[in-house]
Amino acid sequence: MNLLKSRSARAAAGFVGAAVVLFAVAPLVLSDFRLGLLAKYLCVAMVAVGICLAWGRGGLLTLGQGVFFGLGGYAMAMHLKIADAGPGNLPDFMQLYGTATELPWWWQPFANPVFALAATFLLPMAVAALLGSFIFRRRVKGAYFAILSQALAAAFAIWLIGQQATTGGTNGLTDIQGFFGYALDDPVNQRTVYFIIAAVLLLLIALARQLIQSRYGELLVAVRDSEERVRFLGYDPANVKLVAYVVAAGMAGLAGALFVPAVGIISPALIGIVPSIEFVIGAAVGGRASLVGAVLGAIAVAWAKTALSEEFPAAWTYFQGLLFIVALAFLPGGLASLATVVRRRRAAAAAEKKAAVIPVGEAA
């Protein structure tokens, strides 16, 4: 009981600390440009929160999070493009490429802000629920699941590129000007977007933490470690996995939606196979099973990418490759497990020392 109390006290302290850093320190010390970049990294961290839940806790290697990120991003961007164009007008790119004289039917509901906002997370969740219930119920798992999610990301990106007249094709939806009536080129509004993103991230972390600590969270670990055994206890593991998958999809969707006002673009290049797998690496480096590890890992890797890839693109690719290899082959628990690994090594070394001392004592 004491342990539990101190743990929740530590968590509360962590939340307060994170809030102070995100809401007070970062805006004070970072330039507007850097704060904008941080907003982008925080979006990546939101995806990592979902990955920590689905992969770290549930063992579902979700290599297709780009799809859900993209669904959320496009839902938001479609609304903002319609709003930018103004009533009665078509978004700029449609006038450029298209022969269409009015909005395609599947664009029309997104003119409604409430619909669009709800769609940013409900749409990915619905897609995940549909897909997941098919895949998990037929017990497609492990590698099969990972490959199918990857194929899904590839197919979605290819489809978007093919529909240039209605999705903007390879370019995606770009040059977004306003965010619910506020001009995005105004630094004050950009700052507000950053605050919204930081708040949503903290909220998602709190939600994920509650799930992980609940009875459901224990069951999810049980399913990860021995799905068959859980089935014999009378649970349907498919439902257990589905919840984690759907929640992770919703988080990725929100991340995509908030990415749009922060960066001003959503495009197929941000959601295909490569970005989907990049979402995973941050969580893996930080520690897939640890929320703090996954979030900090995602932010650190996204930061390293910006810092390195601009100046040394070749070096960045080698570094990224090495990250995958080192993090997964040699430190599967990520940096979050480093403390435990070191402690264990030390304990082992100490035990060895003791063992070495005893014979000497006997000899004397």
């Binding site: 895949i135 492990g142 490959i147 199918l148 194929a151 590839a154 197919a155 070749a314 490759g321």
Partner: protein, 298 residues
């Protein structure tokens, strides 16, 4: 009528390419259960081998023939090296293997960019493979590119060679023994680690051969492997783990499906429809087309 035949033959030739790139995987993924994302880069290595050889051997025909065994050795050696350095430490962690080999694949792509430059390069096809054969003459002719026929022949030859190796040679017997019961094979005096490495050498070598074939139908570039690797994995998943028969049938079936759908819709919609078809198929046969039923819990 000719249209249907034409689409079918296009499908078969897409299938032959799929089969060639998936064949090596049917050994490494299908038999050994290793998800090697760098398999695509072994294909790329085979293609660049062809490109390099053509610089020193002027005759396109001879360089292509030389490239087949050399590419097999180059990619095979890369595969054996990868197995020795990383994969053997990860046999019990398939999902981690996937991500680790993805990292390897990123590095190999960058290496290709540093060595050969980022833009795609081309090889010359030998004259004998540049023409077309007319299968049906007349007003509405059906012609087939010679290069496509060559790839089909190569794919069939590779399947036959692999299946004979697995069935008839002592090496093949050892591979199957290790796959079926690793511990028993070990106590029967088989060095499982040698068998693993040899199987990986062959599987990766086949990727190199596929790379040589791909130079006939498209450009050679650092990302050529990434573009085909997912399709290759899907072939194995749908065909059934460890089933050569399934791999062959599914490669051709997916090829024909893709080509027919491309004809009636667009390339991108066809891709999406094929994937939907695969998810639907796995509803019906979650373990793939062919599967061994056992009482094991896994």
């Amino acid at each position: 009528m000719t249209v249907i035949l034409g689409q079918t033959f296009t499908g078969i030739s897409i299938g032959a390419v799929l089969l060639l790139i998936a064949l090596g995987l049917s050994l490494t993924f299908g038999q050994m259960n290793v998800i090697n994302m760098a398999h695509g880069e072994f294909i790329m290595a085979g293609a660049y081998t062809t490109y390099v050889l053509q610089k020193s051997i002027s005759s396109a025909g001879i360089s292509l023939l030389v490239a087949l065994p050399v590419a097999f050795l180059v990619s095979g050696a890369l595969g054996a090296l990868l197995e020795w350095l990383l994969i053997r430490r990860l046999y019990l962690r398939p999902l981690d293997t996937l991500l680790v080999t993805w990292g390897v694949s990123l590095m190999l792509q960058q290496l290709a960019r540093d060595l050969f430059g980022a833009p795609n390069v081309q090889t010359r096809a030998p004259d004998i493979l540049t023409g077309n054969i007319t299968l049906i003459g007349g007003d509405d002719p059906l012609t087939v590119a010679n290069s496509r026929l060559f790839i089909l022949g190569l794919a069939v030859a590779a399947v036959v060679a692999l299946s004979l190796t697995l069935r008839l040679t002592p090496l093949g017997r050892r591979i199957r023994a290790v796959v079926q019961n690793r511990d028993l094979a070990e106590v029967s005096g088989i060095s499982t680690s040698t068998v693993d490495r040899t199987a990986f050498f062959i599987g990766s070598g086949l990727a190199g051969v596929a790379g040589v074939a791909l130079t006939l139908v498209g450009p050679i570039g650092p990302t050529m492997g990434t573009n085909v690797i997912i399709d290759a994995f899907l072939v194995i998943v749908v065909g059934g783990i460890g089933q050569l028969k399934g791999t062959v049938i599914v490669a051709f079936a997916l090829g024909v499906l893709q080509s027919v759908l491309e004809y009636s819709t667009t390339v991108s919609v066809a891709k999406v429809l094929v994937l939907v078809g695969i998810v639907a198929f796995l509803q019906w046969r979650p373990q793939g087309l062919y599967t061994l039923r056992t009482r094991s819990l896994a």
